[in-house]
């Protein structure tokens, strides 16, 4: 089958890309658009490093066909910070030492962002449940939990 031109809005910029049916969203984001913040991991949906946000939900870009995203708005790790300032979750990850090698970090931050956007003050169990589909092989999961919790502190303070 021929390539088909689709329109992808990634981080509020609209791209017209020619994609092949078997290209995943991850392939297109990394190889065609050059946004390499989103990582390629297991490729079978168990590690979560390729997480991006579509319609407010964290999804795995390695198991999504690019063609199925025609006309959709996608947020990747590059889209949550600006040149001047980091996203509060990113700041919290740095402040709490929730990063070692950093490979899983974009996926975990995007997963956390989807969680906090939906539920600004999650309890420990809710954080664990949301992060269950991500892996940090440097074994930093406690720090990661703490970082997400601290990032949600402002919302928690507001509530109380």
């Amino acid at each position: 089958m021929e390539k088909k031109i689709i329109s992808l809005t990634v981080n509020e910029t609209t791209y017209e890309v020619a994609v092949k049916p078997w290209q995943t969203l991850l392939d297109v984001i990394r190889d065609e658009l050059g946004l390499t913040g989103t990582k390629r991991g297991c490729g079978i949906g168990t590690c979560g490093v390729c997480t991006v946000i579509i319609d407010g939900r964290a999804i795995l870009s390695c198991l999504t066909l690019a063609m199925e995203c025609d006309g959709r708005c996608i947020t990747t790790i590059e889209g949550i910070s600006t040149a001047e300032s980091l996203h509060p979750i990113q700041t919290s990850f740095i402040a709490n030492g929730a990063i070692q090698c950093g490979y899983c970090t974009p996926g975990i931050i995007m997963t956390s962002k989807a969680l906090l956007d939906e539920n600004p003050s999650p309890c420990d169990d809710e954080i664990k449940e949301a992060l269950a589909g991500t892996f940090c092989r440097c074994t930093g999961h406690i720090k990661i939990m703490e970082a997400v919790k601290k990032a949600s502190q402002p919302a928690r303070d507001k509530e109380s």
């Binding site: 049916p21 078997w22 964290a58 198991l63 999504t64 066909l65 949301a130 269950a132 589909g133």
Partner: protein, 334 residues
């Protein structure tokens, strides 16, 4: 891992989709969430020539809370949508628990109920890369005449590991199967055949359109639990769903379904006879749990040993019946 090459079409109506299925049947695979199909395609376990994306089909993505005595859920409703649906949680808590327990949040955001019901069976010798698979003789699942899991077996023993299916069978759910110009409704219990290579009764030109869960008139108690290596992501090593109508003792009023230990979910019979004769008591639960061990048929050593699977069944039956017993006790107290 890269995907194999294929053609992609996105039908704009269900009719168009059914026409394509009718014309090209065996060469086609339906793509909804992609969390099972694309993984299998990456492993080259399935290599369809044409992939039909059905996610945009509105007719398949609705939850109708009251549809002639049933709650009807479209096949391409995502698991996250079901888990968050208020009426599902109120009326079918065990089903909601099962949905909520599937894999991870990412996968529930993508995966659909139709996909979870049609989840392909899994096996150590089959869900491997092509290079690895090619080192052995072709097995039943790939069109050969061998089973590597049980040597000499005449059929495939790959395991059905859907979590939602046992919960749905225990609730007496049905599925609406459609093909060009026709539809049929099949009880989910009869939808599965105990053959890993051909796990469901679906023919290549058919697809599931909706899941129908009967709404309860009287009071009932339900339970679902599963045992996994880790809480997130992993497929169940064993799961159980239970249903008990209030004051129910007779057949049909108590149901227990064990999932993830064989090619089809096991609906227990002898085990329930024990309860039917003696009622739900501490002693009868113990006996029922022991009986469960013996009515599981042939088990494989896939993922866990056959002995462990029998042990799991015993433990799960005991836990499920205890929970149901506790629920009935509580409701009598109120």
């Amino acid at each position: 891992m890269r995907l194999p090459r294929f053609e992609y079409r996105k039908p704009s109506t269900v009719e168009e989709c059914l026409n394509l299925l009718q014309e090209q049947g065996t060469k086609v695979r339906i793509l909804a969430g992609g969390t099972d199909l694309l993984v299998n395609m990456k492993y080259r376990v399935v290599c369809p020539e044409l992939v039909l994306g059905i996610k945009g089909l509105k007719d398949l993505s609705r939850i109708v809370p009251d549809d002639k005595g049933y709650m009807s859920i479209g096949a391409s409703v995502t698991l996250s949508e079901i888990a968050a649906h208020k009426e599902v949680a109120e009326q079918f808590p065990s089903f909601q628990k099962a949905v909520q327990s599937v894999a991870s949040k990412h996968i529930r955001n993508m995966g659909t109920i139709g996909g979870n019901i049609c989840l392909d069976t899994r096996c150590w010798y089959y869900n491997k890369s092509k290079l690895w698979r090619d080192a052995r003789e072709v097995c039943h699942k790939l069109g050969g005449r061998q089973c590597h899991a049980i040597k000499g077996s005449a059929r495939c023993h790959a395991i059905n590991s859907s979590d939602t299916v046992p919960a749905l069978i225990a609730l007496g759910a049905k599925v609406k199967i459609i093909k060009k110009g026709q539809e049929r409704i099949v009880s989910l219990k009869d939808f599965f055949q105990d053959n890993g290579a051909q796990p469901t009764v679906l023919t290549p030109d058919e697809m599931i359109s909706t899941v129908l869960i009967p709404k309860e008139n009287g009071k009932s108690f339900t339970t679902f639990m599963k045992i996994t290596m880790r809480k997130g992501i992993d497929f169940a090593m064993g799961s159980i769903a239970g249903y008990l109508a209030e004051n129910g003792k007779a057949e049909g009023e108590l149901r227990l379904v064990i999932g993830s230990i064989s090619s089809a979910p096991v609906t227990l019979k002898k085990t329930l006879q024990v309860i039917g004769e003696a009622g739900l008591s501490e002693a009868s639960v113990e006996r029922a749990a022991l009986t469960a061990r013996s009515e599981l048929g042939t088990l494989t050593n896939l993922f866990t040993s056959a002995g462990y699977k029998r042990h799991l069944a015993e433990v799960l039956v005991k836990r499920a019946l205890d929970e149901l017993r506790e629920m009935t006790k509580k409701s009598r107290r109120v």
